[in-house]
């Protein structure tokens, strides 16, 4: 039902593995559970626990538990078996100081600034306080001269003179959000691309440990500017599972309604941006003006356009009256007409098709080994949609199809997203028809303490599977650990794979085909000196996550 408790004594889904036998176990597991959902690290009393979560495309999960000593934690890298694992491992190396033996990039950083001191403690350890962390980063930024971006491809790999390593980003006209790619070029052809994110890193996972469950709900909503509701929903599902609370039926329906409206606005935003990337600005304007209807609906339902703050633990915060539902029904059918007209005209337009067909081709096995999720994976024909494989909310009550494509490239992904938007419109019409009665608002908001336990939740935001892991300790007001795995992270691995062999002019197009959301995977820390209010000492990274999409 979207969220499941992790029961450590249940041997069918949880395996405790010794660090030295991890590679063989992973090899055995991925034959039947090919999809790596994520790697979660938690710091528990002198040891670091790693949880490797796998899925078999049917919603059955397998977790491998590895416990490492805190000092000098090291484990074999599994990136040789699942390519996408390398980016998760880099994240854990940055945040927990675990070293991965045999990792393809042994010294590169993914999220922390390059100038983070070598001997300084990793940020997410429980022994590191927020003040200590701020002090470390402040000192680094005050004392050291701004270091140039270290080309992460490493010059030793390419000694041939014909290959140029081109730094692409973090600030580039083609990119709406800051991230850095080191692109190895041979002439105009791309040989290799290496992503480096972390320019809008805000430390949300660390902050969540200092706030109560209810306050964290508003914090995780700000991970992403587009799928904000899905982030809060996934978090809520995990917390409700942990605390044993269940919302009533109307709350489930209203949550699903807002989630589907969000999917429509995200997809129409991306399809409009596709036109923008290829230089077809009219398409961008048309789609964004159609999307404005949906934003108006969201504002009417929740009071906010972007960060809806609509959901709460145990229900929703506002009831939606029947008059408003009538407006939703009317507006959604108007939107459907408009959207159908625009997409029919646009997708049949020759130049657009020529510019996107056969760009960034990738195959299903590449997508699976990168761990790709969402429309990017479905475009290759893998029907993996969390709404179907692990139904949550009101999805069991409505009928819809999982849209798949037959080959992976920019055009197929665009078609998949157009069809998904129509499916969402259908879901919303069904929800309005079947809306149950009742009071979805809980009588009191949850402000109590947590129980012992672990829960994880998965939902299907517009960009693909989103995974939250929450751990509670008995008597604590705050979550002990919140782990967020956003969909862009594995998709980015795929994009840097799919980019090989194309020209530099295709880079923006292939990068944005995954609908990237760099604020989703990053998290900037802004230092405000308390004595001098509003003097912001800018880190060398971006000061704030101002992006179209997701980042931690």
């Amino acid at each position: 039902m979207g969220a499941v408790s992790l029961k450590r004594n249940d041997s069918s889904s949880v395996l405790t593995v010794f660090p030295e036998s991890l590679p063989e176990t992973v090899r055995a597991v991925i034959s039947s559970y090919p999809h790596l959902v994520g790697i979660t690290a938690t710091h528990v009393a002198n040891s670091i626990e790693l949880i490797y979560s796998f899925d078999n495309w049917k919603g059955e999960m397998k977790h491998l538990l590895v416990s490492l000593p805190e000092k000098g934690a090291a484990v074999e890298s599994i990136s040789s078996q699942i390519r996408g694992a390398y980016i998760y491992e880099m994240e854990i190396r940055d945040m927990f100081g675990v070293s991965f033996i045999g990792h393809p990039l042994p010294n590169a950083k993914l999220l922390l600034p390059e100038s983070y001191p070598q001997g300084a403690p990793p940020p997410l350890l429980k022994t590191v306080s927020l003040e200590q962390l701020m002090q470390i980063l402040n000192e680094v930024q005050m004392q050291e001269p701004p270091s140039s971006v270290i080309p992460i491809t490493g010059s030793s790999r390419y000694s041939v003179e014909s290959i140029v390593i081109l730094p692409f980003g973090p600030y580039h006209p083609a990119l709406k959000e800051p991230e850095h790619f080191a692109i190895a070029l041979e002439g105009e052809k791309i040989v290799e691309a290496r992503p480096r994110i972390g320019y809008v890193h805000r430390g949300i996972e660390k902050l969540a440990e200092t706030r109560s469950f209810l306050q964290t709900l508003f914090l995780v909503e700000r991970v992403c500017g587009i799928c904000s509701f899905h982030h809060s929903w996934t978090y809520t599902l995990a917390v409700e599972n942990l605390l044993g609370i269940s919302p009533n039926k109307k709350a489930e329906f209203l949550r699903t309604l807002v989630a589907e409206l969000e999917r429509i606005h995200s997809h129409s935003l991306w399809i409009g941006l596709l036109g923008y990337w290829v230089g077809f600005d009219s398409m961008f304007m048309w789609l964004w003006s159609a999307r404005e209807r949906i934003m108006k609906l969201l504002e009417m339902i929740a009071g906010n356009r972007v960060n809806k703050s609509f959901i709460t633990i145990g229900g929703v915060r506002y009831d939606v009256s029947d008059e408003k539902l009538k407006v939703v029904k009317r507006e959604i059918s108007e939107f459907e007409k408009e959207f159908r007209r625009i997409t029919e005209e646009v997708m049949s337009y020759g130049p657009l098709e020529e510019r996107t067909r056969g760009i960034g081709i990738y195959h299903a096995d590449t997508a699976i080994s990168s761990g790709a999720v969402g429309p990017v994976l479905r475009a290759t024909g893998v029907p993996y949609d969390i709404r179907k494989v692990e139904p949550y909310g009101a999805y069991p009550e409505v009928s819809f199809d999982v849209v798949t494509g037959n080959r992976g490239d920019v055009l197929t992904i665009a078609e998949v997203r157009v069809k998904e938007t129509f499916e969402s419109i259908g879901i919303i019409q069904q929800l309005v028809e079947k809306m149950p009665s009742g009071n979805p608002v809980p009588s009191a908001f949850f402000m109590g303490t947590s129980k012992d336990g672990e829960a994880f939740a998965r939902t299907e935001p517009p960009r693909g599977e989103l995974y939250y892991y929450i751990r509670g300790k008995v008597g604590m007001r705050n979550p002990y650990r919140v782990k967020i795995r956003t969909p862009t992270l594995p998709n980015l691995v795929l994009a840097s794979e799919a980019i090989k062999g194309y020209t530099l002019s295709d880079v923006p197009l292939i990068l944005t085909m995954i609908d990237p959301c760099f604020s989703c995977e990053d998290r900037a820390i802004v230092y405000i000196n308390r004595k001098e209010p509003f003097i912001v000492k800018l880190p060398r990274a971006a000061p704030q996550g101002i992006g179209l999409g997701c980042s931690l």
């Binding site: 304007m285 908001f445 209010p533």
Partner: protein
């Protein structure tokens, strides 16, 4: 075929000429609040009993409790604290107004935009 298309274009042009423009009129965008906005939290001081629920629940930690005078509880006088809002931190989510059991916080829309000068 071409003739049919051009006739269609003419009709479309006439239709677009009389239909609503896609851009918003400026007076719509300059208003601080629409009818469906949540508004800003304002304290109704004589209802407040100083329980601090709002300050505990505030996601942005924008509420500090400051001494707010005396109040009769039963038959004795007690010092109570009232919430004060830091509007530069506030995210205008309305949670404080929802958790308040006394309805002492009101979300108001009929106010001018808040100008924060520090």
């Amino acid at each position: 075929m071409v003739a049919k298309k051009s006739v269609k274009t003419v009709f479309e042009a006439i239709e677009s000429f009389f239909s609503r423009p896609e851009t918003f009129p400026s007076e719509d965008t300059e208003r601080a609040f629409t009818e469906v906005s949540r508004g800003i939290p304002v304290l109704i001081a004589d209802k407040c009993i100083g329980c601090s629920l709002c300050a505990l629940s505030c996601p942005a930690q924008a509420i500090t409790m400051i001494p707010g005078g005396k109040r009769m509880l039963g038959n004795r006088q007690v010092e109570i604290k009232n919430p004060s809002f830091d509007y530069s931190k506030c995210i205008y989510c309305g949670l404080c107004a929802q958790v308040c059991r006394q309805n002492a916080i009101e979300m108001r829309k009929n106010v001018d935009p808040i100008i924060i000068i520090k």
